[in-house]
Symmetry: C2
Subunit: 188 residues, 2 copies
């Protein structure tokens, strides 16, 4: 008897394998340009929008509506808590990235995941941001604790998978290694 | 006649200056530990939560409720578009960070801002994420275009401020320079 599992951990494993084969055949299928925009409203409060992206040179049309986000600071950082702040979003992004990588790779390896969560924290000294001599402007350290439960994998398999996910995580790579960031300003 | 402006661009300049003085007097006042958590739900879908943070060694209590976020992937990346993906959130965070830095520093310099927006994009090759040989897992490049309008600053002042903001932006620093990221896994 042959067991055919096409969906594991909510991941369509057939689609995952087909995607890998398509990219092997044509590396352009693996290329994306993601986008976001934001508009300043007042003080530390901004409205963000994440809409369509470019995949293999073409605009992906799967999103009818963009996602809308609010960014703000807490009162101690001159805001009104209308949304999380930018560095908190960064931590959130790392947690999301790890989880997607973990459950997708687990699915590909035949590992069932029943529970997966991440807690993230980062230390930041605002002196540089405020023009004072101090630490670097960004996080001086980020610490992540993942928790996972699986009915059919050993602890060793799960820990090894965590290392694999760290090594291939897009967001972790963006934080642990330098990216060229080009910023231009148009004055209206 | 003395003009006393305590709020500019929605930023309380008196509070900003008082914060800087407080940190000069006691650098611990400038230290923060920000946090986020996420729980996996299904497939590429995760629920995130951004709640309280540590400021000067104490938990800030200004947020009665945490912010809740949804993270997902588009169908082409095995998800259902229930939320933006992790690398899109990273771009959004950079836009929010730049805007806060821009309007706050403008306020401190007496520059009025009437309009401020950012468009951000980042190139990503998913081959490494999928276990294939290819580019690094994260963004190979991020490009940002800011647009600003001010009734009382020159173009030169606004462009110089943009450079200052880039140099002191926490999120830009997190992307442009490496951060130590420590990840541990607890197996349940």
């Amino acid at each position: 008897m042959t067991e055919t599992v096409t969906v594991r951990n909510g991941i369509d494993v057939d689609q995952l394998l087909a995607t890998i084969e398509a990219i092997k055949a044509d590396p352009a299928v693996g290329t994306f340009t993601f986008r976001a925009s934001s508009r300043w409203r007042d003080g530390t409060y901004n409205l963000g929008e994440i809409g369509r992206f470019i995949h293999a040179g073409l605009e992906d049309e799967s999103r009818a509506e963009p996602f809308r986000l609010e960014g703000d600071e807490p009162p101690v950082l001159l805001g009104r808590n209308k949304g999380p702040n930018a560095v908190e979003l960064l931590l959130q992004a790392l947690g999301f990235c790890y989880a997607v990588g973990y459950v997708a790779n687990a699915a590909a390896r035949g590992i069932d995941i029943t529970d997966m969560e991440y807690e993230l924290e980062g230390d930041l000294d605002v002196r540089s941001f405020l023009g004072l001599a101090g630490e670097r402007p960004g996080f001086t350290a980020i610490r992540v604790t993942g928790r996972v439960a699986s009915p059919n994998a050993t602890k060793e398999q799960l820990v090894e998978l965590s290392q694999y996910v760290q090594d291939t995580s897009p967001v972790r790579d963006c934080l642990a290694n330098p990216i060229p960031v080009t910023t231009t300003l148009e004055v209206r």
